[in-house]
Amino acid sequence: MSGPFSPALLEFIVDRVEVGIFAVDRDCHIVLWNRFMALHSQQSEATVLGRNLFDCFPELPRKWLERKIESVFILKNYAFTSWEQRPFLFRFQHNRPITGGVDAMRQNCTFLPQKGSSGEVELVCVTLVDFTDTAMFQTQLTAAITELEKEKRAQQELIGKLEDTQNQLIQSEKLAAVGQLAAGVAHEINNPIGFVNSNLASLERYLRDLFSLLAIYEKAEPRLAELALLASIQEAKAAIDYAFLREDSSALIVESREGLNRVKRIVQDLKAFARIDESSLQLADLHNCLDSTLAVLASDLRDKAEIVREYAALPLIECMPAQLNQVFMNLLTNAQQAIVERGRITLRTGCEGNMVWAEIGDSGIGIPAANLTRIFEPFFTTKAVGAGQGLGLSVAYSIIARHQGRIEVSCAAGQGAVFRIWLPVQRQAADGS
């Protein structure tokens, strides 16, 4: 270096600058040790000069550091260490005796080759800069960013949940509106159904009586032969096809009664849906509900599906068993109808925390993705006319909602549908119902 610097000034700078400076020769003997190094290592210049670096500081990572220094001698090139990968070279106390926060001073080091007149490296000079403040700031920054990212993820999750809740809300609002309508309709229909039903019973009896009366008259027909009346009777009988009329009348009555029963069932469904019949809460075994429903449907299911039960141990739950039976009935009926020829219906149960679940899966035709959002809507059905009213799943939905549970459906392409019902073991009192 040239310029108006006295050796004394340079010596002063090297010694007093707030940077650790030391130098070693090819054998790693210390030839320079400035004040920063002496103060922080608590080893004075006098005690270390001329001694091997690793003898003075046995805790240094010797193998690695020797190679590093050697590479500077050979390559005549700089080398570096950074606090991010190697927090420190020397374990020095940090500059925060009061406020703390780190275990030791963070250091960035530069290894400088000092070439002699021959061009060969004679000494390796190392500068050591205190990076504690930067390191702590960056660590805090990294922690803050990690925290922010975590919060962002949590928020996204929350937004997802909100969307789900909103969808459910829309669903239950729809159901509530339809429920009110259904309650009104059910009430209105119940009365006429009642008198039509009893009238039909009377009419059936009257017809039976009339036909037996006519039968007696028929026995008198041969005696009427001499009268011209017989011809007109037989003519009239032929005109109305009396034999068929007599037979068909009773069939008509039977069909009408079936029709009425169907109307009654629809009204019952609507009532269940609209919560007209509220049964009482009791502790019940979900497996009993499933099994009793299976028993009711046994004759329908027998020809259609193999029933696989995978039951787990479940606690008794607080519920309205009759209503749950209805849910299982609806789901099992759907499952059975989804199976084209013969298949399997799998019933699984399980328990997670304060919730139990029951799953009904079928090997049937499945549900097209486009319909998945609509299946719980009242009167939505894909079944043939007469095979379903589109109330089964919406009834199930409202019953489960009333139980403070939820119902999920999953359906992989080309596979059957799986409905899973989640129910709380104990209802929350806040509901008030």
Binding site: P61, K63, W64, L65, E66, R67, K68, E70, S71, I74, L75, K76, N77, Y78, A79, F80, T81, S82, E84, Q85, R86, N108, T110
Partner: protein
């Protein structure tokens, strides 16, 4: 990429740089072998001028599709520029013993990459600078990316527009399946100084 641009080095200058780079790599190989006690191979440097926007594509072309680790290091002094050293991901353990590490964990592996990059850059560029009698210094290397596709090492919107000099060397350890690529990038505003130094070199022989 190979079209002539007024700012680019002339044909003679490029030939001279190629020659100097060849010599430099020979010296670098010898020095590295001395440090590690292993024979290393350095490919003949490939030199090109290109628009900076094409650098990511060029990197991807040389390095391939597999994800890589990369380290960048700046050099300054008579010439300025940046060097990118690209390592195949997951081959660091091959070098750990050479660099005096017992067992490299992930943080140590990063330091190992920095150390190796520093040695490669110092050896290769040091050789070239010495031949050109140029005085250059180096900044500390830093990790550019871990496990990233080569084409994504430099986000294109971070590249300043303009020409650049691209010098690429492939580095392999003879007895180990370790390879890395060293890419020297110099901005066009350095071409004049570099050209002058090359002219001086051509004049001297």
């Amino acid at each position: 990429m190979t079209d002539i641009h007024p700012a680019d080095l002339s044909g003679d200058q490029r030939d001279a740089l190629q020659e100097i780079a060849n010599i430099g790599m020979g010296q670098a190989g010898a020095s590295i072998a001395k440090i590690w006690g292993e024979f290393v191979q350095l490919s003949v440097p490939c030199i090109a001028h290109l628009d900076r926007q094409n650098i990511p594509a060029m990197l991807a072309r040389f390095v391939g599709d597999e994800t890589v680790h990369a380290v960048r290091q700046a050099f300054h002094g008579q010439f300025r520029g940046e060097v990118i050293v690209v390592f195949s991901a997951g081959r660091g353990d091959q070098l750990a013993a050479l660099m005096g590490y017992d067992e490299a964990d992930s943080v140590e592996e990063q330091e190992l990459l920095l150390d190796v990059a520093n040695i490669l850059v110092g050896a290769c560029l040091g050789g070239i600078a010495e031949t050109l009698a140029a005085d250059i210094g180096f900044s500390a290397p830093s990790v550019m990316g871990l496990d990233v596709p080569p084409s994504q090492l430099i986000p294109p919107d971070e590249l300043v527009s303009g020409r650049a000099l691209f010098l690429k060397v492939r580095f392999t350890l003879e007895k180990k399946s370790f390879a890395s690529h060293l890419v020297v990038l110099m901005p066009a505003d350095e071409f004049a100084v570099l050209g002058a130094a090359l002219d001086k070199f051509i004049g001297a022989i």
